[in-house]
């Protein structure tokens, strides 16, 4: 530390001019910098290592599921009945429910979220945006169990009153999907808003200067210019919807059911994992291992979504500035 201090100090005036000039440029050792660099590198390593270990654990348990349960990967992926008690491990009902609720969620979240993002970035004054954006971000902080009970105690009764109690069952995918949609709307909105406001003002001015209205400018110039960011936002939201657990566990029901009817109950992949692992399941049983196979599949699905979104982003991108 003392050495460091010394080299930082300006050389005394009595030194010859030549030496004084050169000494200020002498290479300094900055142990702090090196330390920080290593620390940050380790942080990056930890997050990557965590992901890898999750994949490894998932794969190992899933592997023993496939070898010990006598269920082939093909049977697992294409089977239409999930009844572990009877030895039926066809994951399609769970996948179907996950995809159906997520699509319903996107149907809700896309218009709401993109509309909010367009309003915030293209219409709202600085003051309104200053209030609305933090509020929206606050919504993302509400515990998902609250959303779950909101689905069960508010949305479901509402749906049953409007569409008829004989049509809509107490547990149903529609209610879960709608509420997951509400849950991911702030995500869609804030991420898309970031993408929209990153579009240079020069493009907006060019459009206004040609006699475009705000709407024309937003839809024909700003939106396409931000499309890669908006698509990425939607993919993130979709992955979030597929991974959402609490709402579907509470509102979509606890019975694996291969059905495209959103008024029926159907357990999703995450909902099933949560229910089964919440029960008294003993380590190493087939039921236990089956959860890892589901988990691995879910991981694979979100990964696929991610790769797809990258591909789409690369091909849709309108480069600016």
């Amino acid at each position: 530390m003392l050495e460091l201090e010394h080299s930082v100090n300006a050389p005394v005036a009595s030194e010859p001019l030549q030496e004084r000039r050169a000494s200020g440029l002498r290479r300094r050792i900055r142990p702090g910098e090196t330390f920080i660099q290593i620390l940050l590198f380790l942080c990056a390593c930890v997050s990557i290592a965590t992901t890898f270990s999750i994949v490894i654990v998932l794969s190992r348990e899933a592997l023993s599921f496939f070898t010990e349960a006598g269920v082939s990967v093909g049977q697992f992926l294409t089977g239409t009945t999930w009844r572990p008690g009877a030895g039926h491990f066809g994951v399609l009902p769970l996948v179907n429910a996950t995809i159906l609720t997520s699509l319903i969620a996107m149907l809700v979240a896309l218009p709401l979220g993109l509309g909010a993002a367009l309003y915030l970035s293209e219409y709202a004054s600085a003051r309104i945006r200053g209030v609305l954006k933090p509020t929206l971000e606050l919504l993302a902080g509400i515990p998902t169990v609250v959303y779950g009970y909101f689905a069960l105690t508010f949305v479901t009764p509402l749906l049953r009153r409007v569409l008829g109690a004989e049509t809509v069952q107490i547990y149903n995918m529609l209610s879960a999907g709608i509420v997951v949609g509400i849950l991911i709307t702030p995500l869609v909105a804030t991420l898309s808003e970031d993408a929209l406001s990153a579009v240079p003002d020069g493009l907006r001015n060019a459009s206004f200067g040609l006699g475009a209205t705000r709407w024309e400018t937003a839809i024909k110039v700003v939106f396409p210019a931000a499309s890669s960011g908006v698509i990425a936002a939607c993919m993130v939201a979709m992955a979030r919807a597929m991974g959402e657990t609490m709402v579907v566990a509470l509102a979509a029901g606890a019975s694996p059911n291969l059905s495209l009817n959103p008024f029926e109950p159907a357990e999703t992949m995450t909902g099933h994992i949560a229910r089964i692992s919440g029960g008294d399941l003993s380590y190493g049983t087939i039921d236990y291992q089956s959860l890892f196979a589901i988990g691995l599949l879910l991981f694979g699905m979100t990964l696929l979504l991610n790769i797809l979104s990258r591909w789409v982003v690369r091909h849709v991108r309108e480069v600016y500035d």
Binding site: N205, A206, G209, L210, G211, K220, A225
Partner: protein, 261 residues
């Protein structure tokens, strides 16, 4: 100066504020058809502010307020019944930094027509796009790559694309805010030549900080200067040759001869 539309645009006692800050005040300008008028003056004296007020682009700036009148063929553009969007369709604008849309060259030029509810055939749209690109002296350079991104062009070509885009909607007036300041001398020369050609059909108002440019291209020159409270004012306005060789105001002469600004 009189009521009949010998001039395309006339400002009367124009004053523009940003919040409580007065950027320009007391501007009386009259711009004749098919001329090039240059607005010159030191940085910050309100040239861009005045220019933007001529097609109501200032409406988009939060806190901006325009007082006084801007007459377009004798009708006040700031009258309550006037629609700013319609104003901008007839008074186009080219900006300092070339700002083509991240779309193809073709779509850049067609954009203005499409938002104006183009109903014609594909062939007639092609013809309009070609005419606009020819008008902006860009056609020969891009005719084989109309589907390429406008952003793949050089800076000077991009700026001419922006001019073509403005021409496509056939405005009567084109406002240009330092259109060459981001360009190299050769690209600048091309734009200047282009302006001289456009002058046959359009009325052009150009902001420039480059006095030689004003001298080369402008028929009329308006000199702006800030007064002591930083509000810009129109100091002198007249034919370019007169402003440059016999300025009436001592401050104009000082600026022209490079003594300040």
């Amino acid at each position: 100066m009189n009521g009949e539309p010998a001039c395309v645009i006339e400002t009367r006692n124009l004053q523009i504020n940003y919040g409580s800050f007065c950027a320009v005040k007391g501007v009386n300008l009259s711009i004749e058809p098919r001329t090039i008028t240059a607005l010159i003056g030191p940085s910050g004296c309100g040239k861009s502010t005045v220019l933007r007020s001529l097609n109501r682009m200032n409406d988009l700036v939060p806190g901006a307020r325009v007082d006084g009148e801007v007459l377009f063929y004798g009708a006040n553009l700031y009258a309550p019944e006037v629609d700013a969007v319609q104003v901008r369709r007839r008074i186009g604008m080219v900006f300092q930094k070339p700002n083509p849309f991240p779309k193809s060259i073709y779509e850049n030029v067609a954009y203005g027509l499409r938002i104006n509810g183009w109903r014609g055939t594909k062939a007639s749209l092609d013809a309009r796009v070609e005419a606009a690109l020819r008008g902006a002296a860009l056609w020969d350079e891009v005719k084989d790559k109309l589907q390429q991104s406008g952003l793949a062009l050089s800076g000077g070509q991009q700026q001419r694309l922006c001019i073509a885009r403005a021409l496509a909607v056939e405005p009567e007036v084109i406002l240009m805010d330092e259109p060459c300041s981001a360009l190299d001398p050769i690209a600048t020369l091309k734009i200047e030549q282009l302006m001289s050609e456009l002058r046959q059909h359009y009325t052009i108002v150009i902001v420039t900080h480059n006095m030689q440019q004003a001298g080369r291209v402008a028929d009329y020159t308006a000199f702006f200067l800030m007064d002591h409270d930083r509000a810009g004012q129109l100091i002198e306005y007249g034919p370019t040759s007169q402003i440059f060789s016999h300025p009436r105001d001592a401050r104009t002469e000082a600026y022209i001869s490079g003594r300040f600004g």
